[in-house]
Subunit: 384 residues, 2 copies
């Protein structure tokens, strides 16, 4: 397999983009990535998107986006694994470049969620859960993660405030991210006073409904050097599945993340202690805590106290979600996994401004589908 | 890149399967493919599916199917390019094995179309067209292909009866295919007398609504030999995009098919004259005619007379859709591209019974999305 590097990144300003459609947000981001890479063509593209069928009544978006980006007839394939769709796009692009099939591949992600018709965003998002065994019985995602939160509190003594501290940190980080949906700092009290959604989770424990896209350009390390770009290598990728129905799993664990991380660490020849910073899938605050444990950054049950101690802040032992995470940056579901890579490449290039993690060389992205039914982990390394 | 072979195929009996759900039809087919291959595990899987979100209110089907197949935590990714989703699944599995990332990969496809809720099957299928420029103006797929049919008649003198002859041939072929939805032979008169759908296309010019799945197992040629299986190599793959909006293209051409075929032929070192039989995407009878021209089997405008002369019958110069095609075998959209490979492997193994093309060594599958906005072509060769 050939060595693969990321040479271009692009992302629009995320938010409620009522004046743009699905193709607008994608093309803006993909065009920016191509410009950033300085390439004159791409050989192929992948697009992570969870459910443009339900949000926009539009499938077949690989070709649609290739057309509007002006790159037909290049192959373009949409990939989907619920909210891990973006991570899958990056992984498929990696495999295609590594295989020798193509030299320059775009991995993008997009979701235009405010356009939703039909039964609304909560219904559309719930299709990432088990429709027959969960949704038809009235379960929605806030409810699923609330059950995980309660179980974690019960088993490990995790406090309500620990969840809130995740949101506070991520909003503080997102405050200076120009691409983020929200530029609002919040306090623990703000979180605790916000509207109840599914006990114990409040509104400020939940990631928002977002319109947005992101894209990255992958090529061989050899070509990256010829382009004169900073060499940010993909040194590990791991993907794993588990039951998408929460009742089939331990409520305090996300085994797909554990397996995906194990594979990525092994491929990279790295472990948790080698990771300088990390973007994780904080769709709800509880998710960030469980994921920290599955990635091996803390022992089981110790994630809450670690956040409280500031270990995951910028400048802390293992900075997490320096981009603002899903909570502050926004969560256009199919785009999230690609935006994580955008954020890490920015850091590994030393271009993260106020949010810069000093001396960052190795970084990990963890992108998750549903209540943890799938995960893609990607490990990047800056090579000087 | 490593050489890749298909060592297992599986497929359920297609039709209106009211007593089965999405996961049932997939697991039945995938299990059959694993059994046929005689492997004790798979490393990864891809699932082609166009719109389980709209048909079944269920996304995240990679993990769902991995769970019900009992293969978690293996990576499982859904791929989508409208009705070419199955072809994409096979292509991604090919790239993954060729790359060295995985040794044994399952490529499956599934669609459970009779469960459709919401706005119905025609609405769901129309999401493969350009929602904003086509569907919102009232266009549906029969209408799009009817325009292509009229243009072909006008430009080349293609006769109404030529379309009918495609349906007659495909029903004759599907009659003895145990997996096919319909086992009914029809006449040109039957087609011409069937209900009008979109002038000049009648009901019997249209592929049906179908529930079904198909799966194939890919591995290295080396492992295929060790398994003692017939060696059916994938020697060429090509994928291409074009505008999904028909008004942006020449109505008598399907350029994505032309480009995809060119790539596949080049990779395989073969041309149209080397192909012993072919499965093409006859979603409507006119599609089979245009595709024959794009694949280089006949000159432009000569497809109708070639079908009339029996050149595409079993025993003819270039047998097409010996499985019955989408018309008779059925068209569960995400599964179709994988079922084409099933049909060709059966032929190349010499297992096609009454439908066997004598001496078949090289075969081509052409799987298409929408009104031709995407195509995947795959060329297989039996190696003795």
């Amino acid at each position: 397999m050939r060595e693969v590097a990321i040479v271009g990144i692009g992302m629009n300003k995320w938010g409620e983009l009522w004046d743009k459609d699905l193709r607008d947000v994608f093309v803006e981001s993909a065009g920016a990535a191509i410009d950033d890479a300085g390439v004159d063509h791409i050989d192929s593209m992948y697009i992570g998107c969870m459910t443009s069928g339900l949000f926009n009544a539009q499938e077949h978006i690989g070709s649609l986006m290739a057309d509007y980006l002006g790159v037909t007839p290049v192959p373009a394939t949409r990939v989907e694994s619920a909210c891990a769709s973006g991570g899958c796009a990056v992984r498929q692009a990696f495999i295609e470049v590594a295989s020798g099939m193509s030299d320059i591949v775009l991995a993008g992600g997009v979701e235009k969620m405010t356009d939703v018709s039909g039964d609304g965003a909560t219904f559309s998002l719930a299709t990432a859960a088990d429709q027959e065994w969960e949704c038809y019985n009235g379960v929605t995602f806030p409810g699923l993660y609330a059950m995980m939160a309660r179980a974690h509190m019960h088993k490990y003594g995790t406090k309500r405030e620990h969840f809130a501290q995740v949101a506070v940190k991520n909003h503080a980080n997102g405050f200076s991210n120009p691409h983020a949906q929200y530029h609002v700092k919040i306090s623990v009290e703000d979180v605790l006073k916000s509207a109840k959604v599914a006990e114990p989770l409040n509104l400020f424990d939940c990631s928002p409904i977002t319109d947005g896209a992101a894209a990255v350009i992958l090529t061989t390390v050899e070509k990256a050097k010829a382009l004169g770009k900073p060499i940010i290598k993909i040194i590990g990728t791991g993907q794993a599945t588990a039951s998408i129905a929460l009742h089939s799993r331990d409520l305090t664990e996300i085994e797909a993340t554990r397996y995906a991380a194990e594979k990525a660490y092994k491929m990279a020849g790295k472990g948790p202690d080698d990771i300088d910073l990390c973007e994780v899938h904080d769709c709800f605050t509880i998710a960030e805590l469980v994921v920290m444990e599955e990635l091996g950054f803390v022992e089981r049950g110790k994630s809450g106290p670690a956040v409280e101690a500031g270990e995951t802040n910028i400048g802390g032992r293992i900075p997490i979600n320096t981009s603002g995470g899903l909570k502050s940056k926004g969560h256009p579901v199919g785009a999230t996994g690609v935006a994580q890579i955008f954020a890490l490449v920015e850091q590994l290039r030393g271009d993260a401004g106020e949010r810069q993690v000093e001396g960052a060389k190795v970084a990990l992205a963890q992108n998750m589908g549903g209540s943890g039914g799938s995960t893609v982990c990607t490990i990047l390394e800056a090579v000087s």
